[in-house]
Amino acid sequence: MSSDQELIIQFQQSINREANFTSLLHKHQQKVYYQIKRMVLDHADADDIAQLVWIKIWNKLDGFKMESEFTTWLFRIAYNETLNYIQKQQKQRNTLTNNDLLDYENATASSDSPKSTEIQIGLDRAISQLPEKQKVVFMLRYYEGFDYEKIATIVGTTIGGAKANYHQAVKKVEGFIKKL
């Protein structure tokens, strides 16, 4: 399989643009979708945001200068799009209500996911209440295994800031679970 760089260069040189773009899409679509879904929970929302992210990538890929890894850039766009979506939603709803938490738990317990335990529900609620930046830093570090430099670029902070966000996230979730 061609590397991201090869695919991007060919795309930028207008060689099989659609084929090269589709290759990139196949390669990274799952990680992008999961990152978004961990933040918005609902599949329909995640699907819509993921589509917007890839349309944006199509429109901006010609200007991508490869100063950073493609995945860093991709996750940054995904993060920003998700954040925009959440902010729009929050404006509509103003604050997170109990109904949102109920929706969250339903989403968590839906489909083929393992049966939720008390700790599981507590953890889900705790993570859902984290500030968006802390939440995404935690996800990218714990689940994706990204290094802090990459995380810092994605969320637009320093390496120290990313580390602090990870530690604060874990501490906050722990505190929330202890209260249960």
Partner: protein, 167 residues
């Protein structure tokens, strides 16, 4: 080595989170957030590409619609003709105005009355040196003005007229 250090730190971070939270719950949380409808990822690229195509088509239609509703003078083909006309008008006006300014300047030079008394003797001498025959006519006209004839004048009177002219 650097990669190993990074991995170690990552492992440490993960272990720290797992001791404070709950490893099983954390993995279940991830499972619940990484499920997607059956065959979703097979059809997703097609969905994205069709949206991109739609967007392209819409943009094209929008551009065409904008052009269609533009007044005729804003249509691209007419722009060249308009630009040419503007250049001709501006250029023509410039040439015309420039000429009339030149004419005015010339006219003002001609119209300005120059009295022989205003000229210095050096200027008159220089003029006479280069245009002797004209100078003679000037002397003659001066004599006519004073109602005298050359034949009736003696040398002193001629000298006097000359002096008057050269002063």
């Amino acid at each position: 080595m650097e990669q190993m250090n990074k991995d170690t730190t990552l492992e440490q971070d993960r272990q720290w989170a797992e001791t404070l939270l709950n490893k099983q719950s954390l993995s279940q949380f991830n499972l619940s957030k990484t499920d997607a409808p059956f065959n979703y990822f097979e059809s997703f690229p097609e969905k994205v590409m069709s949206r991109i195509e739609n967007e392209k088509r819409q943009q094209k239609e929008k551009r065409n619609a904008t052009l269609f509703f533009l007044p005729s003078f804003m249509q691209p083909l007419n722009r060249v003709a308009i630009a040419a006309a503007v250049i001709i008008i501006v250029g023509g006006s410039f040439i015309f105005l420039n000429n009339s300014v030149n004419k005015k300047t010339a006219a003002s030079i001609v119209a300005a009355p120059i009295s022989i008394q205003d000229l210095s003797s050096e200027e008159i001498e220089a003029y006479v040196d280069t245009n002797e025959w004209i100078a003679e006519i000037d002397v003659q006209s001066q004599m006519n003005k004073e109602n005298t004839r050359l034949s009736t004048l003696d040398e002193n009177q001629i000298e006097e007229i000359k002096n008057t002219l050269y002063k």
